[in-house]
């Protein structure tokens, strides 16, 4: 097993009805199913466009309980878009790590083991969709084309999806071991 180390730059929750945009907290409690109160929380979910192998609305296992991004990959997306920053909240991220310039290359099956004992199991890459592009564009008036450019700019840098393997707290500033 290989091991990398990183730190938690921020933790976030999407708790507003109708919006995937997250907001920063000092800590999140991970429970089986994700972050209680977050829009993606739950053991199961309804199949959507990402699960086109199932009829839309079918109850399926929720493998997208949380989304992880890195400071470095957010900066790479910003550079590709020609803007000064892309915030984790705009991508709907729940955890932003610092020290993982190649976060999106971490394979499914890898573990993220946090100081407080919480553990996440990587379920693969977060495929970029158009919605964060629109949120980014709203922050840069006059740059409406950013929305259309997002998917390509974020390809391979969009971060990971994960499920909670072990319950616990994750705090801003925590260190994390990534075991693959």
């Amino acid at each position: 097993m290989a091991e990398q180390k990183a730190s938690v730059k921020g933790v976030y929750i999407a708790d507003e009805e109708g919006s995937f945009v997250t907001k920063a907290l000092n800590l999140v409690k991970l429970a089986f199913g994700g972050i209680p109160g977050d829009r993606h929380f739950g053991w199961t979910k309804k199949a959507g466009v990402r699960e086109s192998m199932y009829e839309r609305g079918t109850e399926i296992f929720n493998r997208r309980q949380l989304t992880l991004v890195s400071v470095e990959e957010c900066a790479q997306i910003a550079e590709a878009l020609g803007v000064d920053r892309v915030e984790p909240e705009w991508l709907g991220a729940n955890v932003c790590l610092e020290g993982m310039p190649d976060l999106t290359e971490v394979p499914a099956g890898a573990r993220f083991l946090f100081d407080g004992g919480a553990g996440l199991l990587c379920e693969g890459v977060a495929r970029p969709c158009v919605h964060p592009g629109k949120v980014i564009a709203e922050h840069f008036p006059g740059r409406e084309k950013l929305a259309a450019k997002f998917v390509k700019a974020a390809s391979g840098r969009r971060g990971l999806i994960a499920v909670v393997e072990r319950e616990g707290e994750v705090k801003r500033g925590d260190s994390v071991r990534i075991v693959t």
Copy 2:
């Protein structure tokens, strides 16, 4: 997305106290958490030797709800061991597929979509451990060294672990689509 097709050679359950060896059924019902009544059924499990990143006995997400093997890879293991057959039951398999000579190469994140609507989500490779080797050796008297040879013989051919993504029945003879 790439798609392969295969068929279900057999379905199996481990429902005897203290044994991982499975027995053949005509059908199994998949529910969230696995196969009800099987020793690996449940949303969560206690961390064991395979999850050495957690203290033994810690409650963790159960990513090993089912094990899949293929007829062809069982034959490859048998050949490597110099015996005439290795049965799926001896490996503790829950589903044996026919038509997947490279089953163990199917990546985490792939879906197994069965006729009856059930869906499995691949969680990665089933790492060979010594126990099935002992069961194999019991079936070939005088070949005690088989137990020690199993881990190497089964490396890369041991099949996959999976979680139930969509509930439903899986029957012997069903066809299955593998979507990666």
